[in-house]
C-alpha cells in the first residue's frame, strides 16, 4: 500500500485530535494552575477543529469513514463534558491538564472506533478509549471509591477486550481477512465452517455487550458510575455509547452481516434482559448516579432492539437512539456536576430536593431530560423509542415491542421520582445555584435540544438514515 499524503486526508479529524492532544499535553507542563484555563480553551478548540475537519472530509471516502456526522456527535458530547466539569474540577483541586488530554485521547479512540474499516483498527480504537477511561475513573486519586471503581473497570474491561479479541481471531481464522468488507464478502461467497464462525461470533457479541454494559455483562456499570468523579461519569456514560453502537454496527452489521440470524437471537436475549433488569433495579436506588447507571442499562436494551432488526430502519433508529441517549446522559450528569459545586457531592436523589424552588431553570432542564429519558412526548426521547419500536414491529416482532413498552412503564416511575423530588419536595437549603456562565448556557442548550428534537426529529433522523445507508 503506497502511503502518499493524499491517502491520509480521510484521517484528518483523527490526526488533528492526536496532534492537538500531544501538543496540549506538552503545553500543559509549562502552565501554572492559574493559566489552566488555556488548556481548557485549547481542548475545546481541538475538538471544534476536529469536528470541522470531519465536515471537510465529509462523505467523500466512505470506505474508511462511516460518516462525518457520527464523529461530530462524539466530539460535541465530549465538549459538553469538558464544559460541565470545569467548575467541579476547580472546586476540588482536580483542575489539571491531564483530564482534558485524557478526554481528548478518549475522543480520538472513539473516533477511530467509528471510522474503523477492519476488526483490528476497531479494536485499537476501543483500547485507546478504554485506557483513557480507566485512568480518568481513578482521576481523583485520594478517593477510595474512585480507585476501587477503576480497578474493577480495568479488570473487567481487560477481560472483555480479551474475549472480543479471541472472537475476532476466530473470525480471522474462518475468513482469512480482517477488514469488514473482505470478511463479509468471503463469508458470503464461500462455504466457510459455520461452527468456528458462530463460536467466534459469540465472543464478539459478549465483548460488545461488555462494552455496552448489557445484562448479564453489566456488573461493572453501577459501581463505576457511582465510584468515578461525576464529570468522569458524565464522559464515560455519554459519548462512548455512540462509539459502542458504531462498533456493534461495524462488527455485526458490516463484518458479520451474514450471521444476522444468529446474532439476532443473542441480541434479543441481551435486550430483554437489559430492559428488565435495568428498569426494575433502578427503582430501588437512592444514589442518583447508580440509578442513572441502571437506566443506562435499560437504554442499552432499546439500542439493541434497533440493532437486532438488522434493517436500515433499525440501524438508523438505534443510531438516533444512541446519539440522543448520549445527549440526555450528558445533560443529566451535567446537572449533577453543577449541583455538586457547593462543597457537597450531589449523589443522592434527595440532593435534588426542591430544586424548582431554588433554581426553576435548572429544574426545568432536568425535567425535560428526565421526561425525555422516560420517552414521554413532546421530548425527543419519545421519537427515539418510536423509531426503535417501529423497526422491531417492522420485522414482525410485535411481542418484543410489547415487552419493551411494558418495561418503559416501569422505567417511567423512577424518572418521575426525580421530578417529584425536584418539584414536590421542600428544599433543604434555599440558596439558588451558582454555576459558571458557559456551563449554564450549554446546559440550557442541552435541555432545550430535547424539546427542539422532539418538535423536529426529522433532521437528525435523516442524518442517521444517510449514515447507515
Amino acid at each position: 500500500m503506497d502511503m502518499d499524503l493524499h491517502s491520509l486526508i480521510p484521517l484528518l479529524p483523527e490526526l488533528v485530535l492526536l496532534l492537538a492532544g500531544c501538543a496540549i499535553l506538552v503545553l500543559d507542563l509549562f502552565l501554572t494552575d492559574r493559566q489552566r484555563d488555556l488548556t481548557y480553551v485549547f481542548s475545546l478548540v481541538a475538538l471544534a477543529a476536529a469536528a470541522a475537519a470531519a465536515i471537510g472530509v465529509g462523505g467523500s471516502s466512505r470506505e474508511i469513514l462511516m460518516s462525518g456526522n457520527f464523529v461530530r456527535a462524539i466530539f460535541v458530547v465530549t465538549a459538553l463534558a469538558f464544559v460541565y466539569s470545569r467548575g467541579y474540577l476547580q472546586a476540588r483541586r482536580l483542575y489539571r491538564g491531564e483530564f482534558y488530554v485524557l478526554g481528548l485521547f478518549a475522543a480520538l479512540g472513539m473516533s477511530v472506533m467509528v471510522s474503523a474499516g477492519s476488526f483490528l483498527s476497531a479494536y485499537l480504537g476501543l483500547e485507546l478509549l478504554a485506557l483513557s477511561l480507566y485512568a480518568l475513573v481513578a482521576f481523583d486519586r485520594d478517593s477510595g471509591a474512585g480507585s476501587e471503581a477503576a480497578i474493577k473497570y480495568f479488570v473487567l474491561g481487560a477481560l472483555a477486550s480479551g474475549l472480543l479479541l479471541y472472537g475476532i481471531s476466530m473470525v480471522y481464522g474462518a475468513s482469512g481477512a480482517l477488514d469488514f468488507a473482505t470478511v463479509s464478502e468471503t463469508l458470503r461467497a464461500t462455504d466457510t465452517d459455520r461452527t468456528v464462525l458462530v463460536f467466534g461470533l459469540v465472543f464478539v457479541v459478549i465483548g460488545i455487550a461488555f462494552k455496552f454494559g448489557a445484562v448479564p455483562f453489566h456488573m461493572w456499570v453501577p459501581d463505576v458510575y457511582q465510584g468515578a468523579p461525576t464529570p468522569v461519569t458524565l464522559l464515560l456514560g455519554s459519548a462512548p455509547k455512540i462509539a459502542a453502537f458504531a462498533l456493534a454496527m461495524r462488527l455485526l452489521g458490516d463484518g458479520l452481516g451474514v450471521l444476522h440470524g444468529d446474532w439476532q437471537q443473542m441480541l434479543v436475549l441481551l435486550a430483554v434482559a437489559s430492559l428488565a433488569l435495568g428498569n426494575v433495579v433502578a427503582i430501588a436506588q437512592t444514589n442518583i448516579k447508580r440509578m442513572l447507571a441502571y437506566s443506562t442499562i435499560s437504554h442499552v436494551g432499546f439500542i439493541f432492539l434497533g440493532l437486532l432488526a438488522g434493517t436500515a430502519d433499525g440501524e438508523a433508529a438505534a443510531m438516533f437512539y444512541s446519539i440522543l441517549y448520549a445527549l440526555m446522559a450528558a445533560g443529566a450528569f451535567g446537572v449533577l456536576v453543577l449541583l455538586s459545586r457547593e462543597g457537597l457531592e450531589a449523589e443522592q436523589i434527595e440532593d435534588l430536593r426542591g430544586l424548582n424552588q431554588r433554581s426553576p431553570w435548572y429544574a426545568g432542564m432536568m425535567l425535560l431530560l428526565m421526561f425525555s429519558m422516560a420517552g414521554v412526548p413532546p421530548t425527543a426521547g419519545f421519537f427515539a423509542k418510536l423509531f426503535v419500536l417501529d423497526a422491531v414491529i417492522g420485522i414482525d416482532m410485535v411481542w418484543l415491542a410489547i415487552v419493551a413498552v411494558s418495561f418503559s412503564i416501569v422505567g417511567a416511575f423512577y424518572y418521575l421520582r426525580v421530578v417529584k423530588v425536584m418539584y414536590f419536595d421542600a428544599p433543604v437549603d434555599e440558596s439558588p445555584l451558582s454555576a459558571p456562565a458557559d456551563a449554564v448556557w450549554v446546559l440550557s442548550l442541552n435541555g432545550l435540544t430535547m424539546l427542539v428534537l422532539g418538535f423536529f426529529p426529522a433532521a437528525l433522523l435523516s442524518i442517521c438514515t444517510a449514515a447507515v445507508a
Binding site: 424548582n356 414521554v376 412526548p377 419519545f382 418510536l386 417501529d390 410485535v398 413498552v405 418539584y423 426529522a458
Partner: protein
C-alpha cells in the same frame, strides 16, 4: 376546504406561546402574570370561535385542514382537521380554560406563573388531541398532556398529592403505550400514520380484537371505565380546583373521543364482537359506582365517582349503537345513542366543572372538603347556595338542564336495544339524584353547623361571574340542544355508515 387562517394551529400554539411568556414574566409581578394568562386564554377562545361559525354543516369531511410534512422518512405529517365530533370538544376546552384561569386568580399563591402556564400548555395540547389527524401527532399530544397535569396535581395539590399524581401518571402511561404499539402496527400495515387511512385499512378479526384491546386500555383508563377508574378519585381529591375542573371537564372526554375517532372506525368488527363487554363495564360504572358515590364523605370524591358514573353513560351510548343496528327496525336509535353520548360529554363538562368550582369556593374559605364540616351554608351564602343547588339538580338530570338531554337520549337508545339495559341505565336517575341531593342537603341546608360556617362570606364578583357563565351554559344546552346535535349530525351519520360495513 382550507380556511385562510390556520385556525387550528393558532388555537393550539397561541396558548402555548402564552405559557412561555407567562413563565418568562415570572412571579415578580403576579398581577401582570395573571392578566397575561387571562388575556391569552380569552384570545384563544375568540380564535377558536370561527371553528363554529365557519363550520359547514351537512358534511362529514374534515374541515379547517392543515397538512405539512413532519417526519418524511416515516410518512408522518403535521395533519390537523376537525369534524362535527371534535369541534364541540375543542370549544369546550377553550371555554373551560378561561374559567379555570379566573377561578385560580386568588387561590394560588405558590408560583402562580408556573400554575397559569401549565394550564395554558394543557389547553393547547388538548386542542391538539382533538384535532390531530396523524397518529403520531395525536400520540404526541395525548402523552404531552400528562406532563402539565402531573405537575399541576403534584405541585399545587393536597396533602396526598404525590401518591395521587404518580398513580395518575403511571395509570395513563400504562394505558397509552399499548396504543402506541397498535398505532405502529397499523403503520407497518398501511404504510402511513394517517388516521383516516387507518379507518379504511382492512384488518382480520384477530388483528382488530388485539388493536381494539390496545385502544381500550388507553381510552378506558382515560374515561375512566370501571375497573380501571381508581386513579380518578385520588387525582380529583388531591388536585387543586382548576386541575379537577380540567380533569373532569375535558381530559375524561378525550377517552370518549378516542372511542369515536379510533376504536369504532378502525376496529368496527371487534367493537361489534366485544360490545357486550363494554356495555357491561358501562352499566357497572353507572349502577355500582353510583352506589359508591352515595357513601362518600368527601365532596370532591363524591363528584369524582359521580363523574365515573356519568361517563358510563357515554360509553354505553357509543356501544349500544351496535346492538340497535343489529335490529333493522330501529335504525335511528344508533345515531341517538352516539349523539346522546356526545351531548352527555359536553354537558358533563359543564356540570362537573361547575360542581368542582363550587367545592373550590367552599374549600378556599374553610379548607375542608369533608361534608361533615359543613351544614347550613345557605344561611350565610345564599347566592352560592342557589348555584350549588342548581348544578346539583343538573347533575341529577333534571329536565331543562343539559344533564337531562344526554342521559335521556342514551336511555331512549337503550330501550330500542333491550329493555333491561334501559332499566339499569335509568336507575341512575334515582341513584344520581340520591347522592347529589343528599350531599346538597347535608352541606347547604339545615342549621348552621359550626362557627366556621357562621363566618362564611358569600361569593364575590369573580366567583359569581364564573358560576353564572356555567349556569347559563347548562341551561342553554338543556333547553336548546339542537345546535350541538346539528353540528355533529353529519359526522355521526358518517361514522354509523362506516361501522355498519364489515372490514372482514
Amino acid at each position: 376546504m382550507t380556511a385562510e387562517l390556520p385556525i387550528l394551529s393558532l388555537t393550539i400554539w397561541l396558548p402555548i406561546l402564552g405559557a412561555v411568556l407567562v413563565l418568562g414574566s415570572g412571579d415578580r409581578a403576579p398581577n401582570l402574570t395573571k392578566w397575561l394568562a387571562l388575556g391569552f386564554a380569552v384570545a384563544t377562545f375568540l380564535v377558536s370561535l370561527p371553528l363554529y361559525s365557519g363550520f359547514h354543516l351537512g358534511t362529514a369531511e374534515m374541515q379547517f385542514v392543515e397538512r405539512a410534512a413532519w417526519i418524511p422518512a416515516f410518512d408522518v405529517h403535521y395533519h390537523l382537521g376537525v369534524d362535527g365530533i371534535s369541534v364541540p370538544l375543542i370549544l369546550l376546552t377553550t371555554f373551560m380554560t378561561v374559567l379555570v384561569i379566573i377561578a385560580g386568580w386568588e387561590a394560588i399563591h405558590y408560583r402562580p406563573a408556573q400554575y397559569m402556564a401549565a394550564f395554558l400548555v394543557m389547553e393547547g395540547v388538548m386542542v391538539g388531541v382533538f384535532s390531530a389527524l396523524d397518529a403520531v401527532l395525536f400520540y404526541v399530544f395525548w402523552e404531552a398532556m400528562l406532563i402539565p397535569m402531573f405537575l399541576i396535581i403534584g405541585v399545587w395539590g393536597g396533602p396526598n398529592r404525590v401518591y395521587a399524581t404518580i398513580k395518575f401518571f403511571l395509570y395513563t402511561f400504562l394505558g397509552s403505550v399499548f396504543m402506541l404499539v397498535a398505532l405502529i402496527y397499523m403503520y407497518t400495515q398501511s404504510g402511513s400514520f394517517e388516521v383516516l387511512g387507518f379507518h379504511a385499512l382492512k384488518l382480520s378479526l384477530k388483528e382488530q380484537i388485539l388493536i381494539f384491546i390496545a385502544f381500550l386500555l388507553a381510552f378506558a383508563v382515560k374515561v375512566p371505565m370501571w375497573p380501571v377508574h381508581t386513579w380518578l378519585p385520588d387525582a380529583h381529591v388531591e388536585a387543586p380546583t382548576g386541575g379537577s375542573v380540567i380533569l373532569a371537564a375535558i381530559m375524561l372526554k378525550i377517552g370518549g373521543y378516542g372511542f369515536l375517532r379510533f376504536s369504532l372506525p378502525i376496529a368496527p368488527d371487534a367493537s361489534n364482537y366485544l360490545d357486550l363487554l363494554i356495555i357491561a363495564m358501562s352499566l357497572i360504572a353507572v349502577v355500582y359506582i353510583g352506589f359508591v358515590a352515595l357513601v362518600q364523605q368527601d365532596m370532591k370524591k363524591l363528584i369524582a365517582y359521580s363523574s365515573i358514573s356519568h361517563m358510563g353513560f357515554v360509553t354505553l351510548g357509543f356501544f349500544i349503537a351496535f346492538i340497535v343496528m343489529a335490529q333493522p327496525a330501529a335504525q335511528g336509535g344508533a345515531a341517538l345513542g352516539i349523539q346522546g353520548g356526545m351531548v352527555q360529554m359536553v354537558s358533563h363538562g359543564f356540570i362537573s366543572g361547575a360542581l368542582f368550582l363550587c367545592v373550590g369556593v367552599l374549600y378556599d374559605r374553610i379548607h375542608s372538603r369533608q361534608i361533615a364540616d359543613y351544614g347550613g351554608v345557605v344561611n350565610t351564602m345564599p347566592w352560592f347556595a342557589a348555584f350549588m343547588v342548581f348544578f346539583a339538580m343538573a347533575n341529577a338530570g333534571l329536565p331543562g338542564t343539559s344533564g337531562f338531554v344526554g342521559e335521556f337520549m342514551v336511555i331512549l337508545a337503550s330501550f330500542r336495544a333491550d329493555f333491561w339495559y334501559a332499566f339499569l341505565a335509568a336507575t341512575t336517575l334515582i341513584i344520581g339524584a340520591a347522592y347529589t341531593l343528599w350531599m346538597v342537603k347535608r352541606v347547604v341546608f339545615g342549621e348552621v353547623a359550626n362557627d366556621k360556617v357562621a363566618k362564611l362570606q358569600d361569593v364575590n364578583g369573580r366567583e359569581a361571574l364564573v358560576l353564572t357563565t356555567l349556569a347559563i351554559a347548562v341551561l342553554l344546552l338543556g333547553l336548546w340542544p339542537q345546535p350541538l346535535i346539528e353540528l355533529m349530525d353529519a359526522s355521526v351519520e358518517h361514522l354509523l355508515r362506516h361501522i355498519a360495513v364489515s372490514k372482514l
